[in-house]
Symmetry: D2
Subunit: 474 residues, 4 copies
């Protein structure tokens, strides 16, 4: 076993049981880029504080860069007995450069170091995730334009409710994802503060220029309280929460795709390459992709619960418990980066079976509200209109006919009133066109909404003058 | 059993089992103010659309106002057989005004209605919660000023790490709560859109002026997609997430108060009226308040899991499942409004036992890092200094003395070097003053940080020119 | 404010904030029967230990009984300022009987008292819940008998997979619920130990006969460690876990009922009184009951997370955090007692639309596996048969026909082989009958399985000789 | 990309996005032993059903055995493009044996196959976990014997409550873990049923002898409903629940170890090899091991929430969502097998600082209850005794003395009564000895309890005549 970074005080090394329990290299090595970027910024502060010379800094800088290249290339040999990514890098530096490398850890602790690394990592991950959500929204907007007038059954309680257009339905998801982007950007902005310089918990004694390291790493500012800087993980909790809501939204679309693809609904077709077969049933064409998108919400919710549990009731400042933040974080990032492209592929390629959509949209007396509304416009109080049309529906059920198939005579008998617009009012197109207002399902509104969504998406993708800082270690 | 709002179509009333399962009046009656405000705004849109006359609107308006007063006064008699708050109010109106009241529900559905009510309710609740968090932050800042120079043990792994000031420690919580306020305000801003006019799912057929109702209710704008407006509950999930992080923070302070009050730590005293005794042990003075603050994190995390579970995989648009959003929401609001004042009381009145704090801050060789840092400033690489001081600590342990008790001779022997500053470097005040940088624990920094926090808090409390909209139904 | 039970040591009463935070009477008054039963058993131990005389015990016993009757009748006036149910009862006793009542709390603490009360309460609740699950299983078995030969589409991935019988499908739920009963009974058996006598944490000094109180309260034995007796809540966690699995199972049935009732599936009809309508859409008939059964899984999972969070990392022995165990427990019990009868009603009254079931069972080439199996029985390796039949299905899709509609010529061309059984093999009844083995879907197997399930249920309901103890305070 | 097992029906392979989403080989390859054992049992049923000849079975059997050896040796080359462990094994067989290998998948589906594999895997894992919990209990019992008379402070609310013995405290954990073992064994017994033969969902058409395969694999019986056999994952939920409760218990001990090791408590010492140091603070000796034991509760609770979420509301029978069961299961097993040995190491080697323990046990008037009890035994009602002793404690606080330091005169003044036993009653040993009853903390009771625990543990480890079945693929 390699010697840990703190061999001075304790008489012996760790027991093997403790080592197995506490090793984090297998997963935290993912932070090596951020850890090296963080060390390079720290070196500049050390030089400014006179702890290392310019020459020493350049020497260490070059060695760190070389390490990063080896790690990128996969040729670096990680040593699990060295606990974590920080120790691996520091030991490698010492092995190569000797005493000068022992200066690197001056004025910092693994506590502020890992907090900085993780913030850098998550910041870059959010940018990647945002790019994928933007892409998904672009797909939804594009499809919504194409399907702005496509009749589709609108459900409540999964029962026929009112006809909508498929474009309108897709834009509902675009709206949800727009708020998700807002949450992710808020999280990114809030986490973009630099813990470096906080030391183990109380600050450092070298007067390190925290503004400098913060700027070098692209942070908006240094964190203002050193205890807070090493102790809190609320930025990860906020991310996991935002990710959970993203997964709620995607799971709903996943569920709908599964439903729409059933023979019973028969509303959409997916291309073969986005489906799977069965090892036993030769006829199967399964929506596994949508099922997995739906199911993977579980692991993201689980990650959130994991970290909430870990953080609850911890006394300040740093406790080893915090090490348990990384796996739920990484798994959630990976999950989003898997399911978002999958959802893009589904949304881009699903094909609506228009006839079946019309058939289902017309089923279940979905335009009954339109008829009631029509009566109201003629002066009848809504509750009364609601009751009379309810009675008419029951009459249809008894006769086995649809609203459109009713004769004027039937209508008059059941409603006590009839006029020449009623026949149009109960058609699908009549119903759609009647909802011609902001947020309504009328095709013209869907076109307008898609236009507006497109512009908003462009603004979000290119915030322009108020450009976001670029992650220096992407 | 009273007749439900939808008696036309279905032959019989609900079975008793279904009624017991589905009744929501016992809890959703809390929404009556919002429901009535929502109806009054809707009436203006109905008048503008020509569905009700000016006179009818005034009549309904007055009756709604009267209902609200009765409900405020507790004299309204709620009927559980009428499912929910909406039905109770509508039935009462019909009972009083007859046919004209049947017009109220024109062009809306309980789906957009309840979404609007809930957003109004949560918006007001967030304002109340924010006021309480601001108050807690004010207490922490005030106490931090008073305790800016109070020596306090700083822990990592709950072991003596480095001395801090108690003011610095308190400001760590203030920093966490500042981010919490940001999250709550972001949530408030994002939810502040009006679902009204979305109808059951597809919009309405009366061309209701959605901009009008949105403005009347103080919303920033109408929601842009009717399906989204009735189907999503992400605003509640976002709130429950933000609330969970608040509870993480408070649970940590709760845990610390419990620890500090133990005879073993003995760091603080709480006034008797904030503690409880035992029914069996006459000597007990228990920190129940802090324990409950800590424990109540559980129910808030649970509420979040509840709603994540409910929302996962729901097909659009509205499903009855969504009714399950209210109890976790209400319970979380109530919990925050219980624990925040409790935490204020604790923070305002806890009294640091200064001698014991100094004793514990000095224990465990908490200034060893300072000595290592001093050696580094003298030119020794940090890793080497760390090892030598580690050896010195072990020597102290063997001798049973503290760092301050070492003689120059001891130091020279163990470290191979000695100078005349070392004696000061290892004192508590030397250690505190050495961390004199942004975010550090030096008393002057704590004063500066408190000043800055105070200004920020004032800005947040009085956003000034960019005033927030006032909730119309507070 | 009334004086608490521990007024000796602390100078003042609780602050109002603390009072509001810590009051539990509004919910823990549900434990009054158990609390009184527990006190009455404790009195017998006190008499045996010589702490109270026989006469005193009788006096106290009668007063406790009178209190219980008042509480049953709703005439007892609960005082919220008296914290909890225990204090309310003890204060009332003292008010009525004076000094003798002050002897009751001898040798016990609220810590062992509340643990005993809760175990008694949960034990009775499990019995009630078990009775409801048994009833649901009886309904499922009865319906399975009736529907043992009813063709029903069997889905995997919600795609047509293989035909099953509806009875077989129902018995799948019966099997799940049978394991649920096992879990609930295991939980009941494990919790059935008596904490009384454990005192605050260390035991009592009166040599109270713990075997006596344990027996009087129907427990299997006293708990063997006093610290454990007051500190752990694993019995509630176990119950909440078992309840969560019950809810997983019911949520699946709820989901299926919602799906089956859609116009698209059209597989079942529910009677009107188990459905609801819409406040706006006159034609709606919504499966709210099934939706709520499904959704209420959320609150039960949430309750489990709540208590896991509360218990995590608590040092021994009792902490006030434990008070937070009651609301999640009570809510879960209430939820189960709501959803179980609802599910019984649904299961008992849903009516399969047989024609539609056959239609969907036949759709999607659901008997393709049967054909592949038939080829295998003729000597072809399964993987090859699977591929050939897959090709045949594709041919059907191209031709727009079903497997049953294929001619012998078609079959021979696609499969390279044909025989005179193939036509039967691909029929629904052929497919069902072919799965005539233990656990298979053939009607005869369903009958046999229902028979077996019935016998098992009877055994569970009447464990006979090894009768369970009767709860003394039901 | 390799061809999947279901290439017949679908025109093209999976898209790369879908492949990345759905691949499970990286984790489900852990099931290879179980998968091969399952195939070998299935082959016997196929031979008995006449699907394969004896010779064919032997040939396949040998090839499967060879595969297993390669996999054991790590020389098998897994192909991620082949989705899962089942496909990898089947493809390898076909590559080696040709057509005969294509017969293996006859009469089964991956649905019943993976359910069988997972049950076998979990059954073996539970046995391993049980062995570790037994070992931990043995350590606790052994330590309890050694520390049966060691005075230790007993806390409630983390305040001094009553003195206990350290052995008594350790046995509280032993009692919790005993119930945990019961839960794990119940889970094992309930899951020990064989899904094989259930096919995709409806059974198989070959009349496979399910009793045979069940016996060969060491199951108690075949599962009785084929839909249930492939659809449910309650056995994993039950395991994750039991594991969560184990983690609650271990997290409490972890928390206590952290507290006890603080300089303030100073109650125990851990050997250096079970602690870690700091990268910056040379003096640190940190209880990371205990912190990680505590923190890892988070991931286990998270795993439970993950799978509850995945299973909620799934329609029957198999959905791809179920694939998400494996990672939370594996991670939980691994976690338990990490933290249990760690806790054994801690429990075996922690050393109580006896003087400090006595000091803290005596602090805080921990024997006040004893004095009150003594007054009661003298005839005073408990509530009155409680109040008087409370007043006495306050007097001590004012005087700055302990109960033991009070003079007879002080006592008489404050209590209105004094006798010659009081001085003994308020000593630690007097207090411990007074709790000499089943479950009490008196040293003799601790010895007796340890004895009893030892016998019970032996019985559980060697259930004797009613020996458990041995897992055939361990």
């Amino acid at each position: 076993m390699a010697e840990p970074l703190w061999s001075g005080r304790l008489g012996q090394g760790m027991s093997e049981t403790l080592q197995r329990l506490s090793v984090s290299v297998p997963y935290d090595q993912r932070l090596y880029r951020e850890d090296i970027a963080c060390s390079r910024a720290h070196l500049q502060a050390l030089e400014r504080a006179g702890v290392v010379t310019h020459q020493e800094r350049e020497q260490l800088d070059a060695a760190l860069d070389a390490l990063r290249q080896e790690m990128d290339a996969g040729t670096f040999s990680w040593d699990e007995s060295l606990e974590d990514v920080h120790s691996n890098i520091e030991r490698a530096l010492i092995a190569r450069l000797g005493d000068v490398a022992k200066k690197l850890h001056t004025g910092r602790s693994r506590n502020d170091q890992v907090a900085t690394d993780t913030r850098l990592f998550l910041r870059a991950a959010i940018d990647e995730i945002l790019a994928q959500v933007y892409r998904l929204r672009a797909v939804l907007i594009q499809r919504a334009r194409e399907e702005a007038a496509t009749v589709f059954p609108g459900f409540t309680h999964l029962q026929s409710a009112q006809p909508v257009t498929f474009g309108h339905h897709l834009l509902a998801y675009e709206a949800m994802l727009t708020r998700d982007c807002g949450r992710l950007r808020d999280c990114r902005a809030r986490l973009n503060q630099c813990p470096l310089g906080a030391g183990a918990l109380a600050g450092n004694t070298y007067g390190l220029d925290r503004q400098l390291t913060s700027s070098l790493l692209g942070f908006a500012s240094p964190m203002e309280n050193s205890l807070d800087a090493v102790a809190d993980r609320d930025y990860i909790l906020e991310f996991l929460s935002a990710a959970s809501v993203v997964m709620v939204h995607l799971s709903r679309l996943g569920e709908e795709v599964v439903l729409w693809m059933t023979p019973a609904f028969g509303l959409i077709t997916l291309p073969d390459e986005l489906t799977t077969g069965s090892s036993i049933m030769p006829q199967k064409k399964n929506p596994d992709m949508a099922e997995l998108v739906r199911a993977k919400s579980g692991r993201v919710f689980g990650a959130l619960v994991t970290l909430l549990t870990v953080m609850k009731g911890q006394p300040l400042a740093y406790n080893r418990d915090n090490q348990e933040d990384k796996e739920p974080l990484f798994d959630t990032i990976d999950t989003l980066l898997l399911v978002l492209p999958a959802t893009q592929a589904i949304a881009a390629s699903l094909c609506v079976n228009r006839e079946r959509a019309i058939e289902l949209a017309a089923a279940g007396f979905a335009t009954a509200t339109d008829l009631a509304d029509h009566l109201v416009r003629g002066g009848m109080p809504f509750r009364e209109a609601h009751e009379r049309v309810g009675g008419l529906v029951r009459a249809c059920l008894d006769k086995g006919c649809t609203l459109e198939q009713l004769t004027c005579h039937d209508m008059e008998q059941a409603l006590g009133i009839v006029d020449d617009q009623m026949a149009h009012v109960v058609t699908l197109s009549g119903s759609l066109q009647a909802r011609d207002h902001l947020g309504g399902t009328a095709p013209s509104q869907v076109h307008a909404a898609a236009e507006k969504a497109e512009l908003r998406l462009q603004r979000e993708r290119n915030p322009g003058a108020t450009a976001q800082d670029t992650p220096p270690c992407g």
